[in-house]
């Protein structure tokens, strides 16, 4: 039973445009959400997070939005750059510091 889902396995965007990556969850007990970025042959690296008491968090070109009633969060990247091409994982925290991960979305930013 996947509690965190990323329904789009891949996304292709033109350089300079907005990238929107989506994530849905089912467990209302999740209290903290994170996005990780992963390049090939490397481990995931932390990108941005949001607490369940907020609906938006911004860090430079990256903004995460949380809609608790819809159990949905999204990551916006504006403007997208070729170096943003990677796999993005959504993760949700439960039971202290344990994370449940989505299946990932491969973002390709075309020059």
């Amino acid at each position: 039973d996947q509690q965190v889902k990323q329904n789009s396995p891949s996304l292709s965007v033109q350089e300079g445009r907005i990238s929107i990556l989506n994530c849905d969850y089912t467990n209302s007990m999740f209290d903290y959400f994170l996005w990780y970025k992963k390049y090939p042959a490397e481990g995931p690296t932390f990108l941005i997070s949001i607490s369940s008491i907020k609906d938006k968090n911004e860090d430079g070109r990256f903004t995460v939005f949380l809609n608790k009633s819809a159990k949905h969060l999204s990551l916006h990247i504006v403007p997208s750059q070729p170096g943003d091409s990677a796999v993005y994982f959504c993760a949700a925290r439960y039971a202290g510091n344990m994370l449940t991960f989505g299946g990932g979305t491969r973002l390709m930013v075309k020059p």
Partner: protein, 114 residues
């Protein structure tokens, strides 16, 4: 400051063999974790530790064992390797903060069981 390091990077095992995946962190983090990532899937938690001498099972612990004798090291042991254990294994650590704890990952070990 190397962060989280993992050895080996790659390994091929025969069915029934055993091996230990090494993980070391130099950030003095209390919490450490082992995940596996299968193709096209997210990371699944195998085992975790909240401090030296304390370990607990995650979502997919069968076929694995761990120990945590020091803060820095968290080895993962595979006994009697099976093809279903072919995966990429990631070790991670975090300070164990109550509020905004962030996990830091190693580069991974790609394991193939034939």
């Amino acid at each position: 400051n190397a962060g989280v390091t993992q050895t080996p990077k790659f390994r091929i095992l025969k069915i029934g063999q055993s091996m230990t995946l090494q993980c070391t962190q130099d950030m003095n983090h209390n919490y450490m974790y082992w995940y596996r990532q299968d193709p096209g899937m997210g990371l699944k938690l195998i085992y975790y530790s909240v401090g030296a001498g304390i370990t607990d099972k995650g979502e997919v612990p069968n076929g694995y064992n761990v120990s945590r004798s020091t803060t820095e090291d968290f080895p993962l042991r595979l006994e009697l390797a099976a093809p279903s254990q072919t995966s990429v294994y990631f070790c991670a650590s975090s300070p164990g903060l109550a509020g905004t704890d962030t996990q830091y990952f190693g580069p991974g070990t790609r394991l193939t069981v034939l």
